[in-house]
């Protein structure tokens, strides 16, 4: 019976905490509603499409392939990213380049974003710094799966 009393106290304390949150937040909400600027807001949430947070510098966003100075892909099709990719979303086909300095370049480079888990292992594995995930692009939802598959062309001409 004595323990029950203890529970009861805690139950009351719990509802007092939530009630306090409600009342305090409500006060700020009402103040803001009437145009009174307060340092504290009623809610900590961010109203996403209108209001965006800054993307951190090291945030892993949409991939892009880097170019050489002459516009060719920097990628040499070593397939290390394909090997390390835990979700097997990268597919590369290599071709021989007539330039003996390059020798090997990707004729096909596919990233299936619908499968990608954005772990960034491909960026870590790349020996040529050819793939990066620094475009800052995070809104790439599509209406069908086909549009989620990026090829060499679109990866090379990514914004930024």
């Amino acid at each position: 019976m004595f323990r029950l009393f203890g529970y009861f106290i805690e139950i009351i304390r719990g509802i007092l905490i939530t009630a306090r949150h409600f009342i305090v937040n409500m006060v700020f909400h009402i103040l803001n509603l009437f145009g009174i600027k307060t340092k504290r807001k009623g809610a900590f949430t961010i109203q996403y499409p209108e209001q965006k947070t800054e993307i951190a510098e090291r945030h892993r966003s949409l991939h892009r392939l880097m170019k050489r100075e002459d516009g060719k892909p920097r990628c040499v099709a070593c397939m290390l990213c394909e090997t390390v990719c835990p979700s097997e979303c990268i597919y590369i086909e290599a071709t021989e380049d007539p330039d003996p300095e390059i020798q090997k370049y990707p004729s096909t480079f596919i990233i299936d974003l619908s499968r990608c888990c954005f772990c960034g292992f491909c960026v870590e594995a790349c020996p040529e710094d050819a793939i990066r995930m620094d475009t800052g692009e995070v809104e790439f939802a599509q209406y069908n799966r086909k549009d989620m598959v990026l090829d060499l062309e679109s990866l090379l001409n990514e914004p930024k």
Partner: protein, 519 residues
């Protein structure tokens, strides 16, 4: 037998062998690059240095013979330092283009750096630039920057093929491998050079840049392209979860078995015909059972029932002499045995015909003149290959079973097609989708040797067992599966077929019946 001590471990080895071999026997790996078991020691790479008690300097393990009571140390500080030094010099002029090197992943230099090197490079200067794309002939490409001058390739062409197309030119730091005066390599064993090269200096066009070797899975098999039956690895790509790879088999490499190790000139190599002749495994494969009349999509059971019904019709009419079989020597021992059991023993047909295969040129190393894998096996099972002539097999034949597993020699069957077309009912077992398939009433897809288990008997009368490496595509199954279910369905000797569920079971039956296989 002498007793020596390697890292304070006593081992007994025969007299006269080298320290490296002795260590290998004891399970201790001494790193080596230029040394290859098939050749005499060269001693140019200096990776195999070991410390021997009583000797003033480090000795070459590959070239030092064992002596009674010799004490060898392979992991002392001196040895490790020496190895690191050797590696550092080798890597100083190495281009480090592992990302585009096909050898990466199975490269000796890479492995040894991981295992014995792991030093920071102190080489600050610009690396020497050399030719990166020198054609050597037969699709081989030499990259001189990557070359570590182990001269394995030179020795191979000198000692094994004795054609001596490659040599070391210039001296000192300018030394380079090259061909003499635009005379390209042109022998049937040139493909071995890519395998032999410890680094990625020699690569071949066939595999170059197609995939990376760590994607490939190795499956042990037997080369069916001639009656030698070399041991091979079929290196195939298991595929990716989401993307289709263009083909399954990417290359064939040699497989050294302990049995062949003693034959230096034969055991380690495979010929270029076997090495590069793998495209048939993926090209033009028949994947569906096709019945000329009726529905095209047929399940295996119905197909077997159809074939068995044709046989039963002849049984009921008591006209089994009108049953003909065209077999071939691409079938395994087990399958040939089943052909014999069903058609010759159970159905008492004498008309099992083997088309004569053209004899081609043999070379004196490995390649034989008979380019089918199992002629010896067919003979041992009891088919006399020339006993039945072409005329006899078509004489009054109403039902014809054709087994055609060879991807080559197409003109042989083409020559027979005009006569085959006249037969009332004809059934084809083939792994390939060919022009003539549409002339048959029933086409049953079968497996190529890489996809089935069984055994071949090679020219030296050796029975070589092998297992499946690849999955057979679509509805294709190995011939022995079809034959066993056909034997069951014909119901002449149901009991004996009911027990057979694998080629091993068939082989056990063969062992009892045929003396050659029982030994």
């Amino acid at each position: 037998m002498v007793e020596i001590f390697i890292n304070d471990r006593s081992i007994k080895v025969p007299e006269g062998i080298t320290v490296l071999k002795a260590a290998e026997r004891a399970g201790i790996h001494i790193p080596h690059i230029c040394y290859h078991e098939a050749f005499a020691p060269e001693g140019s790479c200096r990776m195999c240095l070991v410390e021997i008690e009583g000797h003033l300097c480090l000795e070459l393990a590959c070239a030092t013979q064992v002596k009674e009571g010799m004490k060898v140390f392979t992991e002392t500080e001196n040895v490790r330092q020496a190895r690191q030094g050797v590696l550092e010099f080798l890597l100083a002029e190495h281009p480090m283009d592992c990302p585009i090197c096909d050898k990466a992943g199975e490269c000796t230099l890479q492995d040894y750096y991981e295992q014995y090197g792991l030093f920071e490079s102190t080489f600050m200067e610009q690396k020497e630039r050399k030719d990166k794309n020198v054609p050597l002939g037969k699709g081989l490409i030499l990259d001189r920057e990557r070359c570590v001058l182990c001269t394995r390739c030179v020795r191979f062409l000198r000692d094994i093929t004795q054609t001596e197309e490659l040599g070391v030119f210039e001296r000192g730091v300018y030394s380079e491998i090259g061909i003499f005066d635009q005379r390209l390599i042109d022998n049937n064993y040139a493909g071995n050079l890519t395998e032999l090269c410890p680094v990625g200096a020699i690569t071949d066009k066939d595999f170059r840049f197609k995939t990376r070797n760590w994607f490939l899975e190795k499956g042990a098999s037997i080369c069916p392209l001639c009656s030698r039956g070399c041991n091979i690895f079929i290196e195939h790509h298991p595929g990716f979860a989401r993307f289709d790879v263009p083909k399954r088999v990417y290359r064939i490499t040699s497989r050294v078995t302990s049995r062949e190790k003693d034959q230096k000139e034969k055991g380690y190599w495979i010929c270029d015909i076997g090495r590069y002749g793998y495209s048939y495994m993926d090209q033009d494969r028949a994947e569906k059972i096709v019945l000329k009349q009726g529905d095209s999509a047929l399940d295996p059971k119905k197909a077997v029932t159809y074939a068995a019904d044709q046989v039963k019709k002849l049984i009921y009419k008591n006209k089994l002499n009108r049953l003909g079989v065209i077999s071939n020597t691409w079938l395994t021992n087990e399958e040939l045995f089943l052909v014999k059991k069903i058609f010759t023993e159970n159905l008492e047909s004498q008309k099992v015909f083997f088309p004569t295969t053209a004899q081609r040129e043999a070379d004196d190393l490995l390649l034989t003149s008979d380019r089918t894998p199992n002629k010896k096996g067919a003979q041992e099972i009891g088919f006399s290959l020339e006993a039945i002539s072409e005329g006899q097999v078509f004489d009054g034949t109403e039902l014809l079973f054709v087994f055609w597993a060879s991807p080559f020699d197409l003109d042989q069957l083409t020559g027979l097609m005009s006569k085959i077309k006249e037969v009332q009912t004809k059934i084809l077992f083939t792994p390939f989708e060919r022009e003539w398939n549409k002339d048959f009433d029933l086409v049953i897809p079968t497996a190529v040797p890489a996809e089935k288990a069984g055994s071949f008997t090679n020219e030296d009368e050796r029975i070589q067992h092998f297992g499946p490496v690849l999955y057979s595509p679509g509805q294709a199954r190995a011939e022995w599966e079809w034959l066993v279910s056909l034997g069951k369905e014909i119901k002449v000797d149901f009991k004996s077929y009911a027990r057979l569920s694998s080629p091993f079971d068939v082989f056990q039956m063969m062992k009892k019946k045929i003396k050659f296989f029982g030994k």
